[in-house]
């Protein structure tokens, strides 16, 4: 293999990259006003956490194999995220039907 001599990334680099993705998602949640884009940024934060789990699973070998408990958790996160997106988008559609807007600064019914 011609690529075997190249260095491989360490666990710290994976953690840093996933932290950066999480921070970008957090920035999106704070900056954006469109509730659909906020929802997408939340999904991105979940995906960043998944990257951490998979990296830990690969770097912690059990009997010569990756620790599959971490990947199992990612599997369940993906499943729950799919259910969450379905319900969340249904809520957004019924919100739009009631208010004709999905901008968070125009949805102020609960403001005291």
């Amino acid at each position: 293999m011609p690529f075997d001599s190249l260095p491989t990334p360490t666990l710290n680099e994976y953690l840093m990259i996933s932290g950066l993705l999480f921070a970008i998602g957090l920035a999106g949640v704070i900056i954006r006003r469109n509730i659909i884009v906020i929802f997408m940024c939340l999904e991105m934060m979940l995906a960043a956490a998944s990257l951490t789990l998979v990296a830990f699973s690969r770097f912690h070998t059990v009997d010569g194999l990756p620790d599959y408990d971490g990947q199992m958790l990612v599997f369940f996160v993906i499943t729950v995220a799919a259910a969450e997106v379905a319900v969340g988008l249904a809520i957004i559609v019924s919100l739009y039907r009631a208010r004709q807007t999905i901008q968070t600064d125009e949805l102020t019914s609960l403001r005291g």
Binding site: F3, L6, P7, T8, P9, T10, L11, N12, L15, I17, L20, L21, F22, A23, I24, G25, L26, A27, G28, V29, I30, I31, R32, R33, I36, V37, F39, M40, C41, E43, M44, A47, S50, V54, S57, R58, F59, T61, D63, G64, P66, D69, Q71, M72, F75, F76, T79, V80, A82, A83, V85, A86, V87, L89, A90, I91, I92, V93, S94, I102
Partner: protein, 185 residues
Amino acid sequence: MPSPLFYIFAAIMLIGGTMVVFMRNPVSSALSMVLSFLGLAALFVGLDAYLIGILQILVYAGAIMVLFIFIIMLLDLKAEENTSFRPAALAAGIVIPLMLVFQLTGVINNQDNLHDIPALELEQAAANFDKDTMIHKRLKDGRLPDTHLLGKKLYTDYNFPLQMVAVLLLVATIGCVSLSRKNSK
């Protein structure tokens, strides 16, 4: 996965994520999200998590993002393209994540995780499985039967959570139907 490939896919992922935040048009945001998740799936494959990588593409980049784009087009969100970001929100949205990143950098620099990725010992691991199973055969051949191993774990150790997820999906389906029903008498 060698470092250059890692940096290429990490850059694809992070650039896609940044475009999600700063694209005005929600459809562009959703398509950047697909790009970001493709990079993430490549990182998963680089970590020998083949099933999770494929699931990331099929479920996230495929199903979930199609659902998002479908809803964006259903609601016909075009009017907000000429509005700009609020300065206060923009400042908070840059400062708070930066603080998070600085904290993370501080913590990670103090951790001694600089050892290389541990090698997989497939032939030795084969001894832990029954002789006539597919997992044993694949491991003997020097291949990682990622899906078989995950499936074995899913249906033995994680059987109860799996059934709970089934209930959750049923509840989500019922919730969607009752939420999107027109509340006519």
